[in-house]
Point group: C2
């Protein structure tokens, strides 16, 4: 795998991409969408090979499902590219403009990052989605997908590159590392000379590995140990639907609720009611002593439970004597993703909003809203759980940097 | 060195710091300034021990000078803290505010990072400067200074911590790693659980080591291989003073000019004139064949010369046939710091501004203006040469993150 050569090609492409007009980019994205539909049969053939390989390797049904493409899923990928084509182009926006006393005129202007690297797991749709967002923001992208999806990803990549070529755009705007070798991934994570930012998309193991091994600046995405705190001033008619929604609407996602914190003053009346609602939806509860005492058959929660992103029909429950205790508990165990308070007390809501350390803090709403579409960004590349650069849902705008343009008439210091 | 304990203390302090009012922070900064002046004798005593140690270890004069404190330098540190006290507080700024169709009200609000780690070299004034900026932005800070300045840094830290204590503010807002052990630095760079961002300040060796070894998100600062391109439409009356200023006003700084690119069409008339001006200021020139032919005693420039940050009275000179060639040369060899074009041609100026990949791109002004004070930020923690989070001069605002605050009335998905 000649990664240096790939880096050089991406670096060469980035100068062309940053010059593309919004119109040309949108046109190319729509052309890529059409090309994917036109290439459906080839893509499905290649995907069938990945599926066969997965079956032979004993891949679990859930993973096979994520790997599998069909006409509808290809149509959804194409639809995604069409949607990104419609989004506003962030490149060129003048973010700030000011004049210095010495006459220098300074503008802070939004520019593409340049080259973005993305390392992801088995869903082949990420290939098209990630390309679309990075391209819209004027970036070249180098993808490293899961080895299980190598043939599917290669077919999708070839189709999009064809569309670019037909539109007179440098194909190296999209490159795929076609290797299943872990050593190649390791080298990719150290390609600082050519790659400006690296974004991992996948499970916590993948993300940890990238954070620990990359020398390229990383945007950490993903893991969500999200809490809902039911305050003593909670309206149960809001609390119950919100908890049920946040826990059960989709269990495998990072903005699902994994842990409840319940004020002692309302625990006696609230927890039995909640337990009934959760049990009827097959949600296992793991609580502290007080919670277990109030719920029929709850298991005792361990330290490990409080820190865990279950991604399953399980929820931990902690009772607290004060809101301060709730905030301290959440700040200790959360992954800085999404946290909610259910309360009718304005002061408590404000304190919670201010003191919880997380990308998204909610009052009386489900944590499931932490999402680029729900925020109105049109699409997202992921949810950032770090504090540098971008926090929370990252749309097209978050895939840009800026530079200062300074105009003078001969000024010196 | 119990780094975990230090991390815990910083993490505990950060919640108190993010709640501090702007007034309280400014008051504490002014108190710290006074405390430094009051503690001058102790600080100078401790500094004398570092100096003695340095002399015994054969430290070169330039480094000894950077390490040495005196009344004036302590006064300058105090003055720096007073200035930071005057700056606008970035924390709490509502950066965006919007309502979603489902009634969710979303605010994007500026918040402190939390805990910032700073690794720096021998200048003890960084101890006070870095504390001031981080504290103003509501952050706890853990400092790791150079082992040569350990006693000076410890004395400065103790003085500031005293001022904080006397003002009822948690002293752990500022902690210093008092160890000269490299292994401690290695562990510090992996303290992700407690440190949100790591900023190296120093030479390129230090910066490279932090980028390569840290698992904490890093803001890369510093190295500047800055170019000035003299276009065929340049006004020599602007070009000459700008080049002399950018090269010779202060040679050891990252925004000094290290390389010239000169259009062939004006080389015959411009280079001899330039050579005279630079030679009279003892600047050694290293040029390509054409440049050497036009300048008396220039040395031939190697590939290494074009990529080098001299930080010395040396400059490389490359002649080009077209502006496109100039842009390609600069984008190849620069460190993404500061680049300038000297031209009276508006179209060329615009192309250069758009196509050069650097934090700061200038038209008809000295690269020396890349500086937090010169940009009007009041102070700076460094010049970022990466594209993530912050680019160019980083002031107080760049030491913050943001979070989304979402208010609903029971919304679910």
């Amino acid at each position: 795998m000649d990664l240096i050569r790939m880096g050089q090609k991406a670096a060469a492409a980035k100068y062309e991409l940053q010059r593309l007009t919004s119109e040309k980019k949108s046109h190319a994205l729509r052309a890529a969408a059409k090309e994917l539909i036109a290439d459906s049969s080839i893509i499905l053939e290649e995907n069938a090979k990945d599926i066969k390989q997965g079956e032979e390797n004993g891949m679990p049904p859930g993973m096979l499902d994520r790997l599998r493409l069909n006409k509808e899923r290809i149509a959804a990928m194409a639809e995604g590219l069409e949607q990104v084509a419609e989004l506003a182009d962030p490149v060129g926006e003048v973010m700030e403009e000011f004049m210095r006393p010495n006459g220098l005129k300074i503008r802070k202007v939004r520019v593409p990052f340049g080259v973005i690297g993305i390392i992801y797991e088995s869903r082949p749709n990420v290939t098209a989605d990630a390309f679309g967002l990075c391209f819209k923001a004027g970036n070249a992208v180098i993808l490293k997908g899961g080895s299980d999806a190598l043939k599917s990803n290669a077919a999708i990549t070839a189709s999009i590159r064809n569309a670019l070529r037909k539109n007179g755009i440098c194909q190296d705007a999209l490159q795929l590392i076609e290797s299943a070798d872990r050593e190649v991934t390791s080298r990719f994570m150290k390609l600082n000379q050519y790659v400006d930012v690296l974004i991992p998309r996948g499970g916590s193991g993948l993300i940890r590995s990238v954070v620990e091994n990359s020398t390229i600046p990383v945007i950490e995405t993903g893991t969500g140990n999200c809490h809902i705190y039911v305050d003593e001033y909670a309206d149960f008619n809001k609390a119950l639907p919100i908890i049920i929604n946040a826990k059960t609407q989709r269990i495998g996602v990072c903005n699902a609720c994994e842990s409840l914190v319940v004020h002692r003053a309302i625990a006696d009346s609230f927890l039995p009611e909640l337990a009934q609602a959760l049990q009827s939806r097959n949600v296992e509860m793991r609580g502290d002593e007080i919670a277990c005492g109030l719920i029929g058959d709850a298991r005792e929660a361990t330290e490990e439970d409080y820190g865990k992103e279950y991604l399953d029909y399980i929820i931990s429950i902690k009772t607290v004597e004060t809101m301060e205790e709730a905030i301290a508990h959440i700040n200790k165990y959360n992954t800085k993703h999404s946290e909610a308070i259910i309360t009718e007390n304005k002061k408590n809501a404000e304190t919670f909003l201010n003191e919880i350390d997380a990308a998204c803090v909610y009052v009386n709403a489900s944590t499931r809203f932490t999402d680029g579409f729900e925020f109105g960004f049109g699409a997202e590349i992921g949810i950032s759980t770090q504090k540098m650069h971008a926090r929370g849902p990252m749309g097209v705008k978050e895939l840009t940097s800026y530079k200062y343009l300074i105009e003078g008439e001969g000024q010196i210091r």
